[in-house]
Amino acid sequence: MSKGLLIASLLAGATVALVVVGTVWPGPSAVAYAGGGPLLGSSSTPEEAVAKLGDEIRTQAWDKAYASFANKAEFTEPDFVHDLTGYYPSLLTYTTLDKFEVRPLHASANDAELELKLYWATVVGSSVSIRDLHVVRDGDRWEPEWPIVKEPAVPPQVIAVDYLRWDVIYRGAGDDWGAQDVEAPHVRIVDMHPVGRADGVVILGELLNEDVVPAYVSVSATLMSKSQSPIATEGSFDKISHLLLPKQVTPFLIKFPGVSLSDVGSIRMTPLSALIAASADPVIEIGNEQLHPDPGASLTGQLINQSGQIVNVAHVLATFYDKSGQVIWVADQYVNQALLPQIPVPFEIHIPEDLARNVGTQRTVVATYSAGGLQ
């Protein structure tokens, strides 16, 4: 038998043996991932009890998680599930828990306070939610109390809406080549400012729809070297509100990682616009916005849906200006719960610490998406 064949046979044999061992005597984590039990089975300390709960949320073992609560008489299992994943379709509806962190806040002999930080993996990136849990001792076990947040109920009502929408009919395939097509919306970059950051160049700006029809917009930029050769081309991706109603302004942010501003000779901006069927509703008020200084500089506020239509996903984009009105940063946040009519939903947008002290004013816009209908 050749040496190669011997090694191959040994490898194959070892693989089969390991598969058999893993199947017959699976590890606790494998059992947990297969839905056969919790990763952490013990609740002998407050931390273990909350970690066990986090693990059950991650594996979506809702019944086991619900059964572990000390206060389960206060709500039902569906209430608990909806509290985590939303009562209406939203970003959290189709998400999974990526990881969680448990941090003790306070402890005594019979109860404790812990912070459970949940990192959800959503389609638009990570979304973090924090719950402070009260954990109580029951004999030799600890049981968490779930801080249920019930969805505020919207009173039954009829909301009259002056419905306004635009539809587009393009030229037909059989039309004469000189025949007109519908004109693309006229958009204009009203502000543009390149910024050198530690991780590369960032282009900030604002785009205005100066037309009387809605526009689907996007912006791309090409950095040119001092010898006028292109360095890189990037687009705004989701750092822009893609739907602009007439006379509406959106900020945009384009990142060029790994590029130094000193290498850039000029920038070629390309705003793109296309006609889009759209609705003028819903109207979202951005209320009680507050700029919070260092440390942890942020813009907080709340979104209030002034229409009768439920908004499933809201994307908040904030433009920050210095005292002279120059754009110095653009930041965004997806709100991971649905916006119900008249129910305020908070948001928090973080501001880079080195820029926070220069912020004089800000402007916020909201892009919305409603399932089963036009925006």
Binding site: D162, L164, W166, D176, W177, G178, Q180, D181, V182, E183, V190, L208, N209, E210, D211, V212, V213, P214, L245, P246, K247, Q248, V249, A280, D281, V283, I284, E285, I286, G287, N288, E289, Q290, L291, G301, Q306, Q362, R363, T364, V365, V366
Partner: protein, 289 residues
Amino acid sequence: MKSIFVWVLSGLALTAMQPATAQGAKMSLPKTVEAGNAFSVQTTGGGNATLYLIGPEQVLKRDVQLGHATVFSAGSVYNAGRYLVVLIGDSSTESGTFDVIPARKPADLSFLARPSRLPVGLHDGITGAVYVFDAYENLITAPGQVSFELSSPSDTVQKRIVETHDGAAWTAMDSTAQQGVDKFQARIDDVSSTRVVEQVPGDPCGLKMSASQSGHGIELVTDPVRDCKGNAVPDGTIVTFTEAFGGGQSMVDVPLKRGIAKVQMSGHEGATISVASGVVLGNQIRWGK
């Protein structure tokens, strides 16, 4: 593919022609023929021959009797350009060329009007370009007078007469002060083509709002929003209301509906409320104290 075939056929005809040119068969060709007109090719000699007529995207073949005229009826040759004629007889081959020129009478206009939508009151904002074709879609390169006419909803008419150069003519017109749908017509002889140009209101002008108490908050309502020429700004145009109060701020983008924008806001005591649309600022209101 068609043109390759034509050139291959031309090559074959010329190759075949070389040994036979000395045999004496003659033909007389017109110098030019107007596209679509009838014409004839007169031949001399006797016997039978084959006449090939090879032109742009067109090849014709006729069996002819030498000594007689071969008539091409009206409409049989219609593509403008240079045509090669080859006469191949039993003992001789003759060739020649003639030009087919576009028909004099225009039959079709390709009219490009841009843009299809523009704000009111723009100087030279509307451009129109015309290409003149005959009935066989040949570009008529001979000069002609094209009349451009832009009629607005207010019955004002702008008119320009432009002579074509190499088959094309163009002009620029102003958009008028009144919004609406303009008819933009180009005409040459009795052929015309019409396009529609939509004149839309410009930016809001003199944007003004008023505030009144409404429950626990305030209701903000704009006056009917118009541009600087008095046209009503269309519904759907976004008006931004901003309420600034003691270190905080609320704002809302509201679309115009029925000519006005209306919204309810919290109305903090001492708040400064401002209104804007696009890059146009409106008035400010100090609420409360």
